[in-house]
């Protein structure tokens, strides 16, 4: 099953990347969201999935009884999910503001900060 999930994660990642390579700001955003989901899935899959119980110590026990799912990747992913939520929330709003300020949602039109400055006085005359 690992294999199937690994492929899924790969497809999600590749698909997200493809979307990020589009020109439309909205598509780029969608790609970003897909990639952050893909990464979590990657870590999850890499954390060795076996049929197991959730990492909860049941009443009466004093320790986890095997087989249990590795809680560490879960904790890591949880942290990662929350972080990426914060980051994507910011990114989404940033894109919105960029669009508003530029009046354009075409990534190819966003080049002003890279193209060399014109000579202002010469340009003026």
């Amino acid at each position: 099953m690992n294999v199937l999930l690994a492929i899924t994660a790969g497809v999600l990642f590749g698909g997200g990347l493809f979307m990020m390579l589009r020109r439309s700001l909205v598509r780029v955003l969608i790609g970003l969201l897909m990639i952050s989901n893909a990464v979590n899935l990657i870590i999850f899959t890499a954390g060795r999935l076996v049929p197991a119980r959730p990492p909860l110590i049941s009443a009466g026990e004093s320790a986890l009884q095997p087989p249990y799912a590795d809680p560490v990747p879960q904790a890591l992913i949880l942290t990662a999910i929350v972080i990426s939520f914060g980051v994507t929330a910011f990114a989404i709003v940033l894109m919105q503001q960029t669009y508003r300020s530029l009046g354009n949602a075409d990534m190819n039109e966003m080049r002003s900060t890279d193209t060399p400055v014109e000579d202002e006085e010469e340009a003026a005359s």
């Binding site: 959730p54 909860l56 949880l78 929350v82 914060g86 929330a89 709003v93 508003r100």
Partner: protein, 139 residues
């Protein structure tokens, strides 16, 4: 968010307290069962967002005991202080300190739990800060 429906308003009026109680429940039991500060905070935030959708962001703000940005500050402070407490015992930062006796309803209380409360508050604060401001930002 202009379109408001009567039905939704009524539903939210009942749902919101329920959701809030559920979120606190998630927070408290998180140490032993599925749940925790994150999920609790997210659920609470969802409750307020629902309210904002049904009524208006402004009305929701009126319901909040603290403004979202203050919630963030308070939450962070609680989280930090819960870690600092250990220093007074001469232990490393964030070493758990537990009350000997469990409290009723809440159960065992220790600094990790207080830390989780901080997390809970930050999550609520941030989600509301983002979503409310975004919802109010009609241009």
């Amino acid at each position: 968010m202009k379109a408001r429906s009567m039905l939704l308003q009524v539903a939210v009026a009942y749902l919101m307290p329920l959701l809030l109680i559920f979120s606190i429940f998630l927070l408290i039991r998180g140490h032993n069962e599925v749940g925790g500060g994150f999920v609790g905070g997210l659920v609470a935030a969802a409750a307020f967002i629902l309210h904002a959708i049904a009524e208006s962001p402004k009305a929701t703000r009126a319901h909040l005991p603290l403004s979202p940005d203050k919630l963030i500050a308070v939450g962070l402070s609680i989280a930090l202080l819960s870690g600092v407490l250990a220093l007074f015992q001469g232990n490393p930062f964030m070493t758990g300190i537990w009350l000997k006796q469990p409290l009723p309803v809440i159960g065992k209380v220790g600094t990790p739990f207080i830390f989780d409360v901080g997390v809970y508050l930050v999550v609520i604060g941030v989600c509301l800060h983002i979503l409310l401001n975004l919802a109010e930002d009609e241009r």
